[in-house]
Subunit: 623 residues, 2 copies
Amino acid sequence: MSPKITTELLKQLRQGMKSPKYVQEPVHAYIVPSGDAHQSEYIAPCDCRRAFISGFDGSAGTAIVTDQHAAMWTDGRYFLQAAHQMDNNWTLMKMGLKDTPTQEDWLVSVLPEGSKVGVDPFIIPADQWKRMSKALRSAGHDLVPVKENLIDTIWTDCPQRPCRPLITLDLSYTGVSWKDKIAALRSKMAERKVLWFVVTALDEVAWLFNLRGSDVEYNPVFFAYAVIGMNTIRLFIDGDRIMDPAVREHLQLDSTLEPEFKIQVMPYGSILSELQAVGAGLSPKEKVWLSDKASYALTEAIPKDYRYLTPYTPICIAKAVKNASETEGMRRAHVKDAVALCELFNWLEKEVPKGTVTEIIAADKAEEFRSQQKDFVELSFATISSTGPNGAIIHYKPVPETNRTLSVNEIYLLDSGAQYKDGTTDVTRTMHFGTPSAYEKECFTYVLKGHIAVSAAIFPNGTKGHLLDSFARSALWDCGLDYLHGTGHGVGSFLNVHEGPCGISYKTFADEPLEAGMIVSDEPGYYEDGSFGIRIENVVLVIPAETKYNFKNRGSLTFEPLTLVPIQTKMIDVNLLTQKERNWVDDYHQKCREVIGAELERQGRHEALQWLIRETEPLLRAQ
Amino acid sequence: MSPKITTELLKQLRQGMKSPKYVQEPVHAYIVPSGDAHQSEYIAPCDCRRAFISGFDGSAGTAIVTDQHAAMWTDGRYFLQAAHQMDNNWTLMKMGLKDTPTQEDWLVSVLPEGSKVGVDPFIIPADQWKRMSKALRSAGHDLVPVKENLIDTIWTDCPQRPCRPLITLDLSYTGVSWKDKIAALRSKMAERKVLWFVVTALDEVAWLFNLRGSDVEYNPVFFAYAVIGMNTIRLFIDGDRIMDPAVREHLQLDSTLEPEFKIQVMPYGSILSELQAVGAGLSPKEKVWLSDKASYALTEAIPKDYRYLTPYTPICIAKAVKNASETEGMRRAHVKDAVALCELFNWLEKEVPKGTVTEIIAADKAEEFRSQQKDFVELSFATISSTGPNGAIIHYKPVPETNRTLSVNEIYLLDSGAQYKDGTTDVTRTMHFGTPSAYEKECFTYVLKGHIAVSAAIFPNGTKGHLLDSFARSALWDCGLDYLHGTGHGVGSFLNVHEGPCGISYKTFADEPLEAGMIVSDEPGYYEDGSFGIRIENVVLVIPAETKYNFKNRGSLTFEPLTLVPIQTKMIDVNLLTQKERNWVDDYHQKCREVIGAELERQGRHEALQWLIRETEPLLRAQ
């Protein structure tokens, strides 16, 4: 992977920062955040402005360019990748390390007095704007909105914004109709005494209307906003996709409906002016509810005293608690996904020793097996297929320049998942096709102990996920090992593979308490730069637990793994496991054998079934 | 304990809330916070306004009185105590429970539109003011400062503000001179480009000048403020205590000194006007550093653009990391404290069966034994001496009305500590003088497992204490048990027994990372309302750990118990402990025997030594 040469682009950007065509007064620094106008984590090619200007295309990162400097903030998952992809015009700011300055502190340290810092107001979330604006102002600088995106002005071959057909989801998938979802939302609005709710996150629009799209790779969403009033529904969406008869019927666009469920369809680009009109028409005490992560531009459309901002919207919270239809769908999706992986691993075991399987071939094969399953739509993220040292690049994606051949001498890490119409999967397995070293087994076993500690944890109702993060690290910590990423994230139901408001991470404190029905990942890891990466990831469902004393009727919760793919016992140093941990592994493998075995049998995949049976032998027999 | 009858007081307060003598416009609600003008946790009698108006005298709680309602917010430590002490004019708001409204939400729900909410601006911290003011404003209400404290206006027999003599501490105790501390502070100020630093917390003033006082019971502090400039030092303190020759010499008030270390002594009451003068004299870009928990009144004295507010001051952070002299002092204090407790427990074992020892007698006896030790100053908090159901009142203090007699049939919980000139102690032991039930032993053992899990935890440098909180709960959670308080707090060095910026609690996220030299408590518990309370508390020092892989040179930390008092093995169900946990208990007891045994021997306390030897038998032999 050779870095992108950015000298000329930075020169052009710096000219734009001073050009009266775009800015009233020159800006001394320009911020290029990661997201799009919806604060999406995964974005369409036309929104990859930070990758365009810097070369670094990981999923998280913020670039700031001044007259003299160009700096990139990203987190531990991407330190290696960013260092590889950026040329030496760029300084890498490793977030989470003690000596790394915040963006604000850095700006204050490098800017001359009284500087202006520019940013596209549609791209920066309102809460970030507020924090940064305050910090800059207190140091004598100004954060200013630059209407025209300065990257777009120099991005001559910027791709078009996608506008692909919609998928309608019926009740068997969603469990709740879009009308019932809107009614529930309105009752939350009434509770908080707000008159309007602005839906800005793409997955929230999709969930609310029981629609899916494919405007953003891996995320089944479509570019749209919605504004929900107590008696009106406005959907801002472009293209003729709304003319599709199935969509029209699903949304009942041509039916006689109760007026409060009549949807007005408006152009995507009219959201700002429409919202400004809403803002201008408010009487005192009438409030508009927005996420505090909505863009600064949309937030500003509502006068300050009329805004009701919350970190998590009621849609985000309702979406996180899966209903019975969604949970059953997620179970089905995970069974199919496990079938595909059993096929893959069986195939890899035969092919790897021949020396012909590269990371890309393995990733393609995984996709091929998944695509054979019913209701497969697409992958849920770029497959991380990595062997040896590439495994230490936490969000690695194999490209021809880095593509290694799998061998019997290296650890192989596969983090992959898919979108099925009934659910979203995300699973990581780490394996060795030869004989792992004692050190590799030791590290793997600590990671496994962490995985089990979270998966088997019992905790009272109302516990926030971040309180479980240390359980995943304890065994690693005891030996002086750690990993620089969170332990788990919320997972959507045929939606984004990363979603709020819950998760398991030392980094988030504002997460909502875990509730039965929420679905998160459990994925501790260990990474040895230049050598190997280990991660063991299951998607797990929060379920009620049985405990001896049940927290005085407060209720107990635990996790049930939805992912049912064998964990390679060859990598386990059984002596490092407690009896409880051994039982957990054996019980898990028995469930894999029963549930996935039945499906492999049903699909007539006999060779993969034999592989599954071999891989799910009880631990002491397997060793 | 009968509740305080508050009907008449509330009537008078409500009159004050409408009286033009005190308020320009009537206030519809009046907030009575817990603290004093220094946001102290423990306060002088003259500052116990919340206890005066409500009867509830726990260390944490906020009262809000409206025309119709009187409500008290407090946390899980005080639910039972508050319910006992308040009459039915008051509604108890149990913080930390899901359905309890925040103060802001409650105010919004009960107040008529456009209400005014009053508070003493000297008593409310600026960060609380800001949060509450914003929430109220967004609901159409106003938070307004009421200069005259409305409680003081009806508190006819309010005691005088104390003004007791000062204690000077020399280098053998403090390790660093006050001049070096001020020089270090000034270099932090220069780093952040601030010209002035306002010291508002009493323990920070005491620490900075290496002085102690006794204005507040249990906390060796004195009423004072300080304002530190780059070349000036102003100490705001009342009374003739500054005329004491020892104090004058310590502060070098009569010496020829470098001008930047010359201390100007000013009246305590002049802080506001002096700070306003500082504020008025600032040029653009000149900043004044305050804690964001400084009072609203003092914060407002500095114009907004000139304030530099941080959650933790550099003094708070420097104070938390104990130097070698302080650590050695803390060790000595804990050895003396353990000697006193061995004497006490030996005495209790003989006396309790006679049926003559009450909670108060036991507490007094503990104080008597402590006061025999060298450099004893006072207790570090009100002794929690509680037996049977009283043990479930987490911050119980025995009073004649509640005073129970210790017996061989109930669990006894003693949480106590002292101030010695060389250090502060805080230790909880739970014991049974007869035969504990299987259930009591089971609960005790889970608490012990949690205590050990924290004490023996190994974690990387830079870890925040709150990430360790769940370790203390895991064994309890597995059986559906929990406790409604944090696991640990910072402990001062001959200073406040509770101090920031570190701790171990699920409730705090803004804690600073743990560093070698910090001292915290480790005190999980379990409480069965109406039956018993269990808590096992040691004070522990953060020390570097040896690990196999040492976090790639990031460094490892763990804890070393400073408290060396036997944990009653009779209460332990050894079958519930792992081998590692048994070893921990045995190693801990061996250290108690060696270190405290030697000191008991030296002090000629032979009977207590015999008791110590019995109580520190290895587990399997002891059972």
